[in-house]
């Protein structure tokens, strides 16, 4: 390994070192605030280190890593999302009785797994990343050991994630059998020699899609989503919805583009079908939900359905659209779950529509951020979500994917219906439910999220320019 290699891996190294340091610190001094501050500092320095790497890329460390602008973009998004989740976790985790500092250790290991996916160029690292991420998530989901629902969600995720990992592994094995390669760009050179449509390959891709589809909660692998979203502590739900899905999306896009997935017709139809099914299933199931965490779970299924359209666009424009979409989706989702976690205590989770009735008149500030997040998910102008949706529709139409674009339009309207129900509740007359007090960090984080949603919605030009200038595979 050369110096450049180390330099390029700096963000990963920082994220990997942090949990070790925390573990050592805990054995001397079990102070929640110190560990919390250290976590934020580490994440910030990891993010800053990304900016220093920019001149050194693209750089690949054979055979496992590839660090290019694309991976840096995703690393940046993942680390920032982890940072926001950490900020939001402060109050929620603090209320947990007994040990709670370990939460941040696990948050770091899962972020490490997610970051590995952003730089992976090899099946081995792909699998390692996904497993590091998943195993950390089992613990995070079931972190509140005293709650039945948390345990249930944890076990559900454990079993289903293991099965899906098995599928993923089997798929990788089949592709390896067919091509003899495990490196992404090696696979494509092997493919060009062989027939694209050998049954072994198709089976391999299909198996991998099962594994990936599970992680992204795409239909028909979505069954775990509502239960896990509901059972996990609200900040962890935000984490699963953003970091975990974003990282898997990062590697899915890289893999799909590297193997020229679009040339493969069966793959094209498979993804189209999954996209359309996810949109409709997610949105239709969300309509009758009274539980907002479950509602957001279904909405995330639909959102992932919109997002994988960009795989079918099949060029750099599509990737750029996906990066913008993910950024806006991350901010929005963290905003929504952030509000839930700030209004919840570890004893009482504010998750039913009832709990949010009249929030606007009690806590106008929090309700505005929540409203903005929901509007952004629905794709209404002046929010980031509108520009993001517009971007995908725009690129989708350019690529001639009219069927997908129209299903997206129909689904936007269905989606709007249930988001409106929640918004109506926010603005309806006040109820009697007591709300916990809000801390400074809570205010601060919500302010950042609310402002970002508005800025990206009203003046997105600068971000789009940056993305278009740099992000490409």
């Amino acid at each position: 390994m050369t110096v450049t290699d180390f330099l390029c891996l700096a963000p990963l190294l920082i994220i990997a070192t942090a949990p070790v340091v925390i573990m050592i610190v805990i054995s001397f001094l079990r102070s929640y605030e110190v560990i919390y501050g250290f976590s934020i500092l580490s994440l910030l320095s990891a993010f800053v280190s990304i900016l220093y790497i920019v001149p050194a890329v693209p750089h690949s460390i054979e055979p496992l890593f590839i660090i290019d602008i694309y991976s840096l973009f995703f690393l940046g998004i993942i680390i920032l999302a982890a940072l926001l989740v950490t900020l939001l976790s402060h109050d929620y985790i603090k209320q947990i009785e007994g040990v709670r500092e370990e939460y941040y250790i696990i948050l770091f290991t899962s972020t490490l797994g997610a970051s590995l996916l952003a730089v992976a160029n090899h099946f081995i690292l792909f699998f390692l990343g996904i497993e590091t991420l998943s195993i950390s998530l089992y613990v995070l989901i079931a972190f509140q050991r005293s709650k039945d629902r948390s345990i249930e969600a944890g076990i559900k995720y454990l079993i289903l994630a293991s099965v899906s990992s098995a599928f993923l592994l089997f798929g990788m094995g089949l592709i390896y059998t067919a091509t003899g390669k495990m490196q992404f760009n090696g696979i494509v050179s092997a493919l060009s020699g062989n027939g694209q449509n050998s049954p072994l390959l198709i089976a391999g891709f299909a198996m991998m899609m099962v594994g990936i589809g599970f992680k992204l909660a795409l239909v028909p692998f979505h069954m775990w989503t509502p239960d896990v979203y509901q059972g996990a502590p609200a900040p962890v739900t935000a984490y699963i919805a953003t970091v975990s899905k974003g990282a898997v999306m990062a590697i899915l896009i890289r893999f799909f583009f590297n193997i020229r997935g679009l040339n493969n017709h069966s793959l094209f139809y498979m993804i189209s079908a999954i996209a359309i099914l996810s949109m409709f299933t997610g949105n239709l199931l969300a309509i009758r939900q009274q539980n907002i965490k479950r509602l957001l779970a279904y909405s995330s299924i639909a959102n992932m359905g919109y997002l994988i359209i960009i795989l079918l666009i099949g060029n750099n424009k599509g990737i750029q659209a996906s990066i913008f979409y993910l950024i806006s989706y991350f901010i929005t989702t963290i905003g929504a779950f952030g509000v839930i976690s700030l209004l919840s205590t570890c004893k009482y989770e504010a998750e039913m529509t009832e709990d949010f009735k009249g929030l606007f008149w009690k806590r106008p500030w929090v309700a505005i951020v929540f409203t903005l997040s929901l509007l952004s998910l629905a794709g209404i102008p002046i929010t980031a979500g509108f520009i993001a949706k517009f971007y995908i529709i725009f690129e989708g139409m350019k690529a001639g994917l009219m069927v997908l674009v129209f299903s997206m339009i129909i689904n936007s309207v269905i989606g709007l219906y249930y988001y409106l129900k929640v918004i109506t509740a926010l603005f309806s007359p006040v109820n009697e439910i007591k709300l916990p007090a809000l801390s400074m960090t809570g205010h601060f984080t919500l302010a950042i999220i609310g402002l970002s949603i508005l800025i990206l919605g009203i003046y997105p030009g600068w971000l789009i320019d940056i993305i278009v200038k740099f992000a490409a595979l």
């Binding site: 002046i382 309207v413 219906y417 409106l420 603005f427 789009i464």
Partner: protein
Amino acid sequence: MILVYIIVILLTGAFLAWIAGRWNPVLPRIISLIALSIGFILIIFIATQSVSDDNKWLIDYKLDWISEFGISLHLALDGLSLLMLLLTFFLGIISVIISWNEINSKVGFFHFNLLLILAGITGVFLSIDLFLFYFFWELMLLPMYFLIGIWGHDNRTAASNKFFLYTQASGLLMLISIIALYFVHGHSTGSYTFDYMLLLGTEMSASKELLIMSGFLSAFLVKLPVVPLHNWLPDAHSEAPTAGSLILAALLLKTGAYGLLRFIVPLFPSASITFKPIGMLLGVIGILYGAKLAFAQTDFKRLVAYTSVSHMGFVILGVFSFNELAYQGVVMQMLAHGISTGALFILAGQLYERIHTRDLNKMGGLWEKVPVMGAVALIFSMASLGLPGLGNFIAELLILIGAFKTSILMSCLACLGLIAATIYSLRIIQKVFLGNTNQEGEMNDLNFREKIVSACLVIVIVGLGLFPQPVFNTAKPALLKTLDIQREKNIPDPGISKKIAVEKNILFFQISKKCLHVNI
């Protein structure tokens, strides 16, 4: 730049009103009044500048917004948008005044929404970039949703949801069409832009043009609304607070009509001709069906809402007649309907404040108790039925004459609408103000504030009826430009030059103007 200021003033006013509402319930009202008045004065100032005849915008402002997609902040103003802005700000001020006593809870947020809607509407009337247009088009929905959903009557949640879903769904279809137009234009010319001026005259095949137009049409026809798509309107109108109904009927519906004139006809000259028979038929159906339903209502606000459907039928009939007379009529109808229907909704609100019902069967014999209110109601009912001397008469007559030149049958059928209008308008007077008294106790007549509002509206509607010429002069260059684009595309034969056609029109116009004079 002045156009940007107008929108910025409204937005600033909106936020200030919201913040001020925390301390004092009167402050938001005053802030809104000030913001709207400044805007109104600015627009009057623009209006007094000379109206140029040379097919150019009066004011044109452009700034890059999202350069990657070719989206710019392009605002421009011509005679048509000027008239619409005058209406917007005039009724904006009125809507603040009429809510003075009606809205007592969450005053700050109410005025925030009110000003935000008006900012959205102003943006719609000024945007010349299609993306920006869509942006403002959507921007006016959400505050309207809150206005109905928070301050509305009993059934407000369902009504506001219905309103939002209808308009949002049709709006998204328009978004698809906008993007499609962008690509079609980009492919044929190589310049990818959302700019209206550049997209004019885009070459495309007939079927493509029709498809793209249908997306725009769906948005505008839902907003207008035409009959099969009008379902959201009566609910939204009747459940909204008075200011909400006023803005919905007088301004939001006009954005649909404005869209037809500004976008459908010039952007899709051939496809709009293809759509002509259907368009005119939809107009006639709207006129007759709306009038019939209006007659059948027992709820005052629903009744007025259905008269809107009927009156907007004239607008679509006029738009698809493709001649200047009809277009002048359409513009006049937009203004006159805004004033007269707005006034009727205000009246419904005033009645509701006093007797707490909108049910016509529970009213009756109110003339003796509230003669001033009765007189005002009489004037606007007469306006609604098209009495000569009031603005609606000029509008409907011009549309009918214009439509007659295009389709005699449709014009004759539409005339029946005037009879129906007479029936339902007289029914309002009869049910509310004449007949037996059903209400016990005393009622206060209009107070000073309400009298001022009514007086302003009466002056405007009479003014439009007696002196329509300034309106015609203001709108004329914009309308002629629209028609020129239309003709250029559809008359390949140089024998019938557009000049002659225009002159013929003017001649016809002058003759009919003489007729009007005799009538008055």
